[in-house]
Amino acid sequence: MESIGKTSTQLALRDPDVRLMHRVRNDEPGAFEELVTRYQHRLIAVMHHLVGDAEEAEDLAQEVFLRVYRARKKYHARSRFSTWLFTIANNLALNSLRNRQRKPVVPLEVRDSGPLGPRPAEQLARDRADQPAQCIQQQELAALVRQALDGLNERQRMAVILNKFEDMNYAEIAEVMGLSTKAVKSLLSRARTNLRNALAGYVHMDSQPVPKAPVDEDK
């Protein structure tokens, strides 16, 4: 018990967000608003990358903040505050994605507008394969990357997003996702192989094209 208290104090001294969360726990006026302001951009970005929908991302981020508020009295810093926050976000987002899979909805893709007409992205990729990647409009490339990201399963996607956009190392991702560091290493390897297979045609490479790596679904 004493060691936990010691750890908490050390973390609070090092991590300003832990100090802020302690102020939220003590119901200091304005502390929670400061927390929301400080983290909303990161949280909404992660949720958006994960679910691919701005409105849903905001709803999920809001729910994460509400959970933080409800749990404030039980908060004890055992790691960085952001790790705790993204653990809540991970649980909530994965539940949401699983519920969505149980109740599939028709995606609101803009297939009938724009210069490409109603062609699926695979057709687009094939048509543009012989063109340099630079010629593809940034929005189109973003759509392809989005599609490649959606092709990953939700755990791979979460690991990629935390690694790429939150700069989390394997140990931190493992803590957020409740996995071992070894499992994260394997998860990210499979995720990056899948991304490479989906997007390799859009990367300008000087060397010889490499044979396609075996696809690991991890599903």
């Binding site: 981020a61 409800r70 997007l199 490499v210």
Partner: protein, 163 residues
């Protein structure tokens, strides 16, 4: 000349961990050496790095202007629906539990007393000794009136068994 086999899962994991800066010095040096000597590994590393960089094309959405306000409004609503637990309420709960424990003790004690009171004393046993000794004979008899009738000699005439 046959094509070299694709990278194994373990090799690929090491390569990705190398690109992520997750390997210790010795392991990182080994992977770097392989990248330098094996064009196949080098091309794979470049492909992995290149596709990773493509993720930067994903838009980073900004929160809507009302996000903070809406979130704080929901927290205010939460405060209203979950009033803070007052100290007297805690004492009330503790007193309730204490009363329940005292009541249970009293009920248990009273029940045991009543049970022990039903047990016969030595005096009761001495008084009923004859009945207890002849219990076997009394058992077939339905009631005490029948026994009393048996004790009336006129019911069996004047003949005694010995005459």
């Amino acid at each position: 000349m046959s094509e070299p086999p694709p990278l194994s899962d373990a090799e690929r994991e090491e390569l990705v961990a190398y690109l992520d800066g997750e390997l210790d010095e010795e392991a990182a040096r080994a992977v770097a050496a392989r990248i330098n000597v094996d064009p196949r590994v080098r091309a794979e590393a470049e492909a992995l790095r290149g596709t990773w960089d493509l993720l930067d094309y994903l838009p980073r959405p900004e929160p809507s202007p009302s996000f903070t306000h809406r979130t704080l409004q929901r927290v205010s609503a939460l405060r209203l629906t979950q009033p803070a637990r007052r100290p007297w309420r805690v004492w009330q709960i503790a007193a309730g539990w204490a009363a329940a424990v005292v009541l249970a003790t009293l009920v248990g004690f009273g029940g045991m007393e009543a049970f022990l009171a039903r047990q016969p004393t030595d005096e009761d046993l001495i008084r009923d000794l004859r009945i207890i000794e002849n219990k076997r004979l009394y058992e077939p008899v339905d009631d005490i009136d029948f026994l009393r009738k048996l004790a009336q000699p006129e019911l069996f005439g004047d003949d005694s068994p010995g005459s």
